[in-house]
């Protein structure tokens, strides 16, 4: 009997991590015992990313190909307009080489009353002036995509810039059709430069 039909608590070998298990993982349906077994695998299933991307593609319903998931709700899609960060609600944030936060909504908690709405006790609440709480929301679905607590003036942290072509070409052996050296670069400052009054 394959692991896919054996119910929970049966993941002892990498080959037992099947598509159904990955789909259930995305739905948050795995038991702690199953998570533990995934953690304890002697080797990871090397084709997890392919199974994962197929499951994500089905789950999100995107017409465009998902190249990579970069956060709970954010994906880099391969679209006619390029490699675009997109929320699973469909809202497009733009070129993945630009920090997606630039296309988000931001709410800044920089006063004691607003900070203590979240960090409820003044004894451990970050202090205004020293820190501000920046909440980044998706303009499409209002999901809170990131929170950063940084000193005022600190550039938003560009969390993750994958080198997609190296990954697909050299690690997966499946080069992307539009592969080019220029895809692995940080273009954030180009965008902010264009914002000057």
């Amino acid at each position: 009997m394959s692991a896919e039909h054996a119910g929970p608590a049966s993941v002892d070998r990498p080959e037992e991590v099947g598509p159904r298990l990955v789909a259930r993982m995305l739905e948050g349906e795995l038991s702690w015992e199953e998570w533990r077994q995934l953690l304890k695998l002697p080797r990871k299933d090397p084709d997890r990313v392919q199974k994962y991307l197929r499951a994500l593609q089905a789950r999100t319903g995107f017409a465009d190909r998902i190249l990579m998931r970069i956060s709970d709700h954010l994906y880099i899609l391969h679209t006619a307009a390029g490699r675009i960060v997109t929320c699973d609600c469909g809202h497009a944030f733009g070129d993945y080489r630009v920090n997606w936060k630039l296309a988000a909504l931001v709410y800044v908690r920089d006063t004691a009353p607003s900070i203590t709405e979240v960090y409820r006790c003044k004894d451990f609440a970050p202090e205004p002036g020293w820190s501000e709480v920046r909440e980044y929301y998706c303009p499409g679905c209002a999901t809170q995509l990131c929170v950063e607590v940084v000193p005022p003036g600190y550039p938003p942290i560009f969390e993750f810039l994958p080198d997609l072509d190296t990954f697909y070409r050299d690690w997966l052996g499946e080069p992307l059709p539009d592969a080019a050296p220029t895809w692995y670069a940080d273009h954030t400052a180009r965008v902010t430069a264009s914002w000057q009054d």
């Binding site: 988000a104 202090e127 190296t166 902010t192």
Partner: protein, 749 residues
Amino acid sequence: MTPPNEAAVLEMRTRSAAGGAGRSLKALLAERDRLSTDSYYGLTDLSLKDADPPRYERFYSALRVGLFSAREVSKFVSASPGSREMGELLFGLLTPEGDPIGISQGLAGSLASMPIGVRWMIENDYETNPGIREGDIFSGDDPYTMGAIHPGDCFTYLPIFAQGRLVAWASGMNHIMDVGSMIGGSWPPFSQDTFTDGFVMPLTKTGEHYEYHAWWLQVWKRRTRAAVFNILDEKMRLSGCQMIERKVHEVIAEFGIDYFIAGVREIIEDGRREVKRNVRALAVPGRARNAAFRTAGYTGVGVLFPLADREYLIHVPVESRVDGAAGLGIDTAGASPWGFHSYNGFPGALEGAAYLSAMDGYAHGSKINHGLMQHVRVGAEKGSVLNPDYEHAAASNPWATTVSIISCAISNASRGFLARGYLEECWTGEASWDGVQGSGILPNGQSWGFTNLQFVGGSGMGAFAYKDGLPTAWTNWNHRSDIGNVEEWEYVTPALYYIGRRLVPEYCGHGKFRGGVGHSATYVIRNPGKLALNRGGGTMARGTVIANGMAGGYPAPGVFVKTYHETNMHERMAAGAPFPSSPWEIDEFIASGELEARRATTWKQDTPPIEMKDGDIYTHASGAGGGWGDPLERDPARVQEDLVRGWLGVETAREVYGVVFDGAPGDETVDPEGTAKLRQTIRQRRLQRGVPVKDWWRAERRRVQAGDFIETVRAMHQESMRFARYREEFTGFWALAPDFDYDPEGEQR
């Protein structure tokens, strides 16, 4: 393919690398450096492993068992709860050149320190003077010369000889109770330079024939406040090293010296290859970033230390970079420059933290040893807070800075795990720490100093991508730790009596999965004689532990300390009246008039030494974990569980999680319809109050140009821009001139 013949392999290996026979350690080290640019010692294959895998694994296991046994047995020589109860120690077996072959469980990050110490002895010609002979003991704790993370970490080295030549080193380290610094304890929070860090010793020959020199033990007695503990810790480390030596002799007797010399190099190369394989299997090429900030409030110390008289906001950005060949780099380029404060660290501190993050991320299934260190490239710019270009810079508490680096690098690694679909490995890795410490004179005239290490023994775990972080469950710098029994601490800290250890409500990073709830400890002071308390520890509550939560979760809050003076606690306890056991209960008791306190202090940055008298109360909290995911996506049933446990209030449930409860206080049940409606309302509120980042940027840029920040924040930006990485990021993001400067005429330090 026919497996290689072991005898042939050994003949080849011992011919090409004689393992020190007849050669100086300097020559051996030079050869090791020349050959170890890619693989360890230039090994192209694992011939011993391939020839007879069970024999090879048995060889490694025998050595590792020796290390584990050394730790588990020798710690009972110690009298300190830090070692005996909490396991704040580590043993390592090193090659003659100092490269770790294997380590015990315990303070695993200190494997980074061990080769620095041996290299320093070799390069400074210890082989000639004072000489390195069988039975010699070398001790020290100097961050600059031997890579100790802080002087509170003391190391002992024992050279291991076989058949007349040095074949390995045993090394033991532990965190001691008092380091003899200007401020009592082992992590002095205020120190201008190394001369106020305490008892800082480069590696010194402290004994011969397996026995310490009498003068060395006298030094512990005279130069620290915890002589009994520190001397027994020395003996513990030597005991463990001798156990390792004995095990090495047994292994050589069974396997032969040639197998030993060739085998340990293969073990290291094996470890390197496994880490590389894991990076390739789990990561994504590219870069991930996070950052941490730490305050250091030194304003007012100028009466004695004018160079240090200012506030610092120490900036530690952490970039993890994976290249196409599965190389992993972790660096802190753009960090603040070093300063006249306790929180600088020399490279051993940074490397220890970075390697810990790599152990959690990429070393499973691996033989943890120098191979990991060789594969993971760790960097800090010269002159920065993690690589001072001033050899006498203070380095008494860099762990306060570097623990955040572990968390940043773990969250960076989780970006790759999530991209590859290995959700089971994804977590925020977030935790802070604290340690009450101090010094004084007991009523019987005894001088004493101490460090209570409990909060470095258990922190709230950061949230995972699929479950909450556990409270008080873990520390990523000691995978076998716990917080120690109250009674153990009480009998070595005679003036401090625990009146409570409690998990702290609301003290976590909220999220779809919340971080582990942090905990507090509260003490009433009894018959202290003369006593001053202070704290060593990680990020204080002015900021968060690391800057960035994961996937919409909130970062964890930092540490706080509170003191209450001239209270009526003793009277209440004598009368059998209820008394508080936590910071919030103390405030409630004071508000209700039941507890009296003529004076109270709250600290969200490091405390100076605070005099504590009979009946005073000291309380502190630490170890909150960061959250993962949008709190509005949290299962309301989990919110209710937290409410029932007392970890969350109804206001937070409503405002942060959007969960509405029915029922009287204490008997609440989730109102599903009300919850759905409120969550929709909160989402609408987000769309209304959130502004496009472009608009925020335009307004904020004017503020940035004007430097309209508190002085400490402006100084943080200004000073970090001395390094190209932050200058490029700051001026690039804000579209400023490349040479933008807040204080172009200012001094460089």
